[in-house]
């Protein structure tokens, strides 16, 4: 069980991380857009982006299966054209993590951008710097802490992903099985002690992730004891 356990932990952390990295660019762009736009349709976009958070994860998994299944248009296209299988591979695990974590990321990123005093980038423009330069030197650094917090929240959600993953990736030991899937399987075949051991391990992993993130967030906050 020992090498299996190590593999499980490594795999789970890796797919959760990959899922977050995959969503990060989209999450930042959408969060920024939502924070800035005055377009009346924004609440619809926001609702759609939030759906994976409130839908039963199995429904999310079902939708993903509809899109990426080998017999579905996109899934078939990817397979025939690029020899790329999504469903029931590790890629589907990453995809499931990404989709369920996305809403958490978008919401925190939006709040982070909204928290930046709009007069700061405006003032930066009067100093002769163009909008893109201002975004990367003022707006983004000021929102970075919130974005980091959002990414960590998304990562934590991805770590424990179960419903969507089992629908679109199955529960294949050594291939698509994450810790939460393994615990489910162990209990269902009556190997409770091993399930409990895994449960303890997942608590430790989650604890480390949150603790590290708190430290990161605090360190990035340290030089900024801004009172105003």
């Amino acid at each position: 069980m020992t090498p299996d356990l190590l593999w499980l932990v490594g795999f789970t952390v890796k797919v959760a991380l990959a899922g977050v990295l995959l969503t990060l660019p989209f999450g930042i762009l959408l969060g920024l857009w939502l924070a800035r736009t005055r377009w009346p349709g924004r609440s619809v976009v926001e609702t759609v982006a939030t759906l994976p958070l409130v839908l039963p994860p199995t429904v999310v998994g079902l939708v993903l299966l509809e899109i990426f299944g080998r017999n579905r248009p996109l899934g078939r296209f990817l397979y025939e054209r690029f020899d790329l299988s999504i469903a029931f591979t590790w890629r589907a695990v990453v995809l499931a993590s990404a989709v369920v974590a996305f809403p958490l990321l978008v919401r925190t990123v939006r709040a982070a951008f909204e928290g930046v005093d709009p007069r700061l980038p405006a003032l930066a423009r009067t100093l002769g710097r163009g909008p893109l330069h201002v975004f990367f030197t003022v707006t983004f650094p000021l929102a970075a802490r919130g974005i980091l917090a959002g990414a960590i929240l998304a990562f934590s959600r991805a770590l424990g992903e179960f419903g969507a993953t089992i629908m679109v990736a199955g529960n294949i030991p050594g291939e698509t099985q994450t810790m939460s899937l393994a615990i489910f399987q162990l209990v269902s075949i009556g190997r409770d002690p091993e399930a409990y051991r895994l449960a303890v391990v997942s608590v430790v992993v989650a604890f480390i992730a949150i603790w590290l993130s708190e430290r990161l967030v605090r360190r990035s906050r340290a030089p900024l004891p801004e009172a105003s």
Binding site: T126, L127, L224
Partner: protein, 353 residues
Amino acid sequence: MIHVRLRIPLSEFELSVSLDLERPVTALFGPSGVGKTTFLEAMAGLRRPLEGEIRIDDDVVYSSDRGTSLAPEKRRFGLVPQDALLFPHLDVRANLLYGFRDGGALTLSSVSEALEIGHLLERRPSRLSGGERQRVALGRALLSQPRLLLLDEPVASLDVDLKDRVLPYVKRVRELHQIPALVVSHDVADVLTLADEVVVLDRGSVSDRGRPRTVLTRPAIHGAFFKRRFENLLESRVMAHEPEEGLTRVETERGLPLSIPYREAPIGERVLLGLLAEDVLLSKEAPVGLSARNVFGGTIRAIEEQGGVAMVEVDARDSIYVRLSHGAVRSLDLHVALPVHLIVKTHSIHRLS
């Protein structure tokens, strides 16, 4: 020469200002809430005016007729906001260099020397005093080599310590570098110290303009300041010093003798004194046993009332305005031509220049 003509909609009225900035420093003067900040933002390109034109020499910065509106970064108007707005994630050095353009006469070392902020370069804005922040904000604007400086209430932040006052630095910088400046302020002292010309704003339009000393001592602007801190301005001359008493004796142009806090100055020097209308006490009887050193008689020339506030103009050789509540006017039964006594503590009188 800088020509500005802007119409900007505000919530209660429309701001309509037309200016030719001919002098090095022009002050836009008016009470809070007349849209002075909004006007500066429109100048800087951060807010769209209804219509108008901004020209600097032959360069059209904004013109509603031609449909021209340069982006803020192309205008090169250095804005110094009221609350400094330093970038909180950058230290002072990085703040100063944010918009740095090489090639001008201004360098980091010359600016930080002139503004006396050289020792602060490694600090974060959160660890600066109010005056230091203002100076850094001024330096940051200067280092972007602006064609025009826009200063929003340079010393209005009330917590700015006197020793930190930014005005001397603004003055020094202006003398060194000849960058024209537009200052908005509601503070008489600011305008007098800094500006070569003042433009008075009242209800969104220009009501008066000219040399600061001439314009600001006119009672005509009085109406606009009814509800706010109105300052009596007294042109005076130093008559005698009594250092052991802590006093300097002065006399106004019209011959009203006053005692002010001791300050070294040659006898005969002309000084401009400020006295807030709310700092003057009024009494019907001659007061006895008071600690205040300035007690003098006069007659009420006029009483104007508005919204529970009364401005009583007392003729005591000079005209002195006293701000009272409506209730005080009634219970004392004050009326025009009534002889009264005015009481002023020495420390209520301050030198403006």
